[in-house]
């Protein structure tokens, strides 16, 4: 695989698809759909090829040598007379065990979402063009190793998402779309500020020995690169690292979404069309936690250790609060949306444990939540397409009317509530084991286990309300799922069951990277005096 730019290909293939679509005519709807399908399918194939050539033993995280499939060249180079020395920005892509699961998830979910988009009602050309642009942005975030590049991909997602919710969404789409846009932009301005602050705090040594300011994430992780007077340099006694950490964390937390920044999510989910909900829950929410793992943790290890308890606290609040609110929902989609809030809490809890088990669990939970929740939203979509309502109390007894559908629903629900032998169980168990092992957050972990109980409660109650009991006469025309829906459900079901019985398939990919990350975070900058508390 040497020299073959597979990551650039995976990232920018959607843009190529988008350009092709822009040149097609509006009337060629099928051609547009098939182009998107081919692009996302090829993207998935490339991701699988990537996985097959991936060296499981190389750690990555903070060391360029053990990153794989690196694409790196100088992108911006500005020579200057006096100010700032030379400005250099690299186009720098690479993957390690943290990002490969996310790359796989993104390409899988995008393919499934494309199939799910098949019956989008109008403006097909615009829809698929924006969809592919969104795909590029998401993939780019997961593979970028330069902060500047990361930020550009991060922001690239906003506009397509705004339009995808705003044009093809439900009745309150305008409100939901602008709320999503404003919230996430508010988050990203903090990320931008921290990015600029870090830029002025660290030097990268170039091949010719000269030192320049840098956006390179790996260089920013190395404490040897920091200057003595940079505002975010750990060696500057008056540094602002603590405030910067909180700013950066809020920026990422809005995407997760972490309580109290979660209020955009239910609106966005309820109004978005099904495929976009799938993408939102399946991939977009993972960007926040991925950002924390990739940037906050290794660049600010000393503050991460200091604030681990608070991260766990917010994880706990997410778990319990999300579950409680989900219990109170009457709208099927909103219920799933709040269950997402709850499930992302497990990720935060696992990360806060700062143990290999917990972080492994967190990343596995990111992947599993991506597949399970994607399936749950597809399930809502199937029902909504047929009945045009999402009220939980409008249904009942659908098990006899739609038996196959009920089967898939049961698998997804049980996976979501953490039944052993399905994938959700493994990741939640790992998160709890890891978090329990950390004495600091043990109490929070014990309280968090309540979330499992509540999760089971709302899931089972929903199952009961929709599928059991007496069939409402209104719904005796409902048909069971068709071939297209089979194609969406079967792969997800297989993955959920497979990772439930053989989680090592995924854990092995990330294990060496997670160990390196945990090691790095628990020892990094331990000799530095904390300031700003």
């Amino acid at each position: 695989m040497n020299g073959f730019p597979i990551l650039s290909l995976i990232t920018f293939l959607p843009v190529v698809g988008m350009i092709i679509i822009l040149f097609l005519k509006k009337e060629q709807a099928n051609l547009i759909k098939y182009t998107t399908l081919v692009v996302t399918a090829v993207q998935l194939v490339f991701s699988i090829i990537l996985l097959m050539n991936f060296d499981y033993s190389a750690a990555g995280v903070f060391e360029q040598g053990s990153f794989q499939f690196i694409d790196k060249f100088r992108w911006i180079e500005i020579k200057d007379i006096s100010w700032l020395g030379t400005v250099k920005v690299d186009y720098f892509l690479g993957v390690d065990g943290l990002s490969v699961p996310m790359v796989l998830l993104t390409s899988l979910i995008c393919l499934i979402a494309t199939i799910s988009s098949w019956n989008i009602p109008h403006s097909i050309k615009g829809y698929f063009a924006l969809f592919l642009l969104l795909d590029c942005g998401m993939m780019g975030v997961f593979v970028a190793l330069d902060f500047f590049l990361f930020y550009i991909f991060w922001e690239l997602m906003l506009l397509p998402m705004y339009f995808l919710i705003g044009i093809w969404g439900g009745p309150r789409k305008e409100y939901a779309a602008i709320k999503f846009f404003l919230y996430t932009l508010l988050g990203s301005i903090f990320i931008l500020l921290v990015m600029i602050g870090l830029y002025f705090s660290a030097h990268e040594t170039l091949a010719d020995g000269s030192k320049v300011f840098t956006f390179n994430l790996l260089a920013l992780m190395d404490s040897a690169n920091y200057t003595s007077d940079g505002i975010l340099s750990p060696f500057n006694p008056g540094n602002l690292r603590f405030i910067a950490y909180i700013g950066l964390f809020i920026g990422f937390a809005i995407k997760i979404p972490m309580f109290p920044f979660h209020t955009w999510l239910p609106d966005a989910h309820v109004e978005a069309p099904t495929p976009i909900s799938v993408i939102l829950a399946g991939v977009l929410l993972k960007l926040g936690t991925y950002g924390i793992l990739r940037i906050s943790f290794p660049i600010f290890p000393e503050i991460t250790r200091e604030l681990a308890w608070y991260i766990a606290l917010f994880g706990m609040i997410n778990i319990i609060y999300g579950a409680l609110v989900a219990l109170a929902q009457k709208d099927f989609k909103k219920l799933i949306a709040y269950s997402s809030v709850s499930h992302m809490g497990y990720v935060l809890l696992g990360m806060a444990s700062l143990s290999a088990t917990g972080v492994n669990g967190a990343i596995l939970q990111m992947f599993n939540h991506g597949t399970i929740t994607a399936m749950l939203f597809l399930i809502v979509g199937v029902l909504y397409d047929r009945s045009h309502t999402r009220g939980l109390n409008d249904f009942g007894g659908l098990a006899n009317q739609m038996p196959v559908y009920t089967g898939f629903v049961t698998v997804a629900f049980f996976a979501a509530l953490g039944l052993p032998s399905l994938s959700g169980f493994i990741s939640e168990a790992l998160v709890f084991v890891g978090a329990f092992g950390s004495e600091e957050i043990r109490t929070l972990t014990i309280i968090s286990t309540l979330g499992i109980l509540l999760g089971a409660a709302y899931m089972l109650w929903t199952l009961q309300r929709i599928f059991f009991g007496k069939l409402n006469e209104k719904w005796n025309q409902l048909t069971d799922i068709d071939t297209r829906e089979y194609i969406m459900f079967i792969p997800l079901t297989i993955i959920i069951i497979f990772l439930g019985v053989y989680p090592s398939a995924m854990l092995d990919i990330m294990n060496s990277s997670v160990n390196a990350l945990v090691e790095f975070v628990s020892t990094g900058l331990s000799n530095v005096q904390l300031s700003g508390f």
């Binding site: 500005i78 007379i81 100010w83 550009i152 779309a177 602008i178 404003l182 932009l185 508010l186 600029i196």
Partner: protein, 505 residues
Amino acid sequence: MNLSILYDSLALIKPEIAISIALILLVLFDLIFHHDKRIIKYIAGISVLVTFYFVYEQFGLRGFSFQTDNIDLITNGMVAVDGFASFFKVIILLSTVFIIFFSNSSLEIQQSNDRIGEYYALIFGMILGMFFMVSANDLILIYLSLELMSLSSYVLAGFVKIRDRNSEASLKYIIYGSVSSGLMLFGISLVFGLTGTTNLLALKTFLLASSVNPVVFGFAIILIVAGIGYKISSAPFHFWTPDVYEGAPITITAYLSVASKAAGFALLVRFIKVAFVYQTDSDGHWVMLQIFDWQTLIIILSILTMTLGNFAALWQNNIKRLLAYSSIAHAGYLLLGLAVLSDQGVIALLIYFFFYLLMNLGAFYVVMLISDKIGSEDIHDYNGIGPAAPFLGVALTIFLISLTGLPPTAGFIGKLYIFIALVDAKMIAVAIIALLNTVVSLYYYVRVLKHMYLTKVEEQRAQVNISAWNLIVALLLLIPVLVFGVYFSPIVDFAQACNSLLSGI
């Protein structure tokens, strides 16, 4: 003054001479060919190109035209010819080129085609004023050039006499303008009374050597800033902007929002750098004279300007008015570059201005094309225009996103450089306020997008078609906005090369 000095001086102001000749030619041709006005725009276009050549020839040149006595062996004069002035001359000429293109396809201007000679003559009058503004090194010349530009623009603001609003715009502009230039003149006279000089370099020498009454001097400076603040439409001197921008023909609105703002900024930067900066330290930060606290004043002005502009824009339904408030907000961001009081701040300002030219003119152009087709500037009449005019819709979306400052557009790079300069100067709180302002601005820019794409329309809108020529002009603005968003080295290099201001240090 002996003749050799005059001769040397004339050699340095070739661009200005070219503009003056063009102005005379325009008037003459307008008189001679009064039946067929088509030739006028070609003369205007060619004159701009010729001037471009002279400006290009001047790059790298540093010196004073119309020299006065040396001060401490430093040459001194009325008109400074340096990279900084050349940068702004390029900005002014570039926007003139686009305004000529715009005027060519504007419905309003075509309806007044019989007076087109007058129109271009006035524009060239403005250019001449602005050229002297960007290189003025003397308070008298500052005042004269400002008035030359203003008088031309007063007439242009009321050039189209179709609606009442047009004359209202012109009248408002004149009244506010005369008050502010009166204030400025009073400030200048106070400075002259205190220091005995109007030359900026001599002013600095005087302030270094002797003391003046800081209260009176500060008062005089604030009066002068009021005059300049009026031109760059900075709050609290911005009151004329929305009304004039709404009432003036859209081509002139676009021109005022870019070119005349550029000249105002150049004037302000030069005024501060030449008269008040005592030396530059190794990091490029300016060491200021203690007599006047520029930083506080500019920070207050800029935060006031951007906050007011952004919040007022939230409630606008007329799209020209919305863009007017947005341009006020941008003046605020630009002032931030100056507030840093360092070379990097000025470079950031130059970079921002270049991108601002592209995206702001682009937004005005698309709005003009759409408004000419649908006959309305009301945002509610934009409902559903996106699908009906696919290219214009996408173009306006990109320009507005760039004005918001989101990647991957040029506007992001402009903002990034401003924020880099702010963080470098450790002005974090100001940077946060400015970034929060960006979030506010997103709301009203996206509101336009909402009306274009999201709002349901009852019946399908008729397709809006544009000519190939319009498409090319729009692409000339659109492509750079996207390309410089991901590859911005050329502009940064250019701005850095142009940061050579003749300031005697």
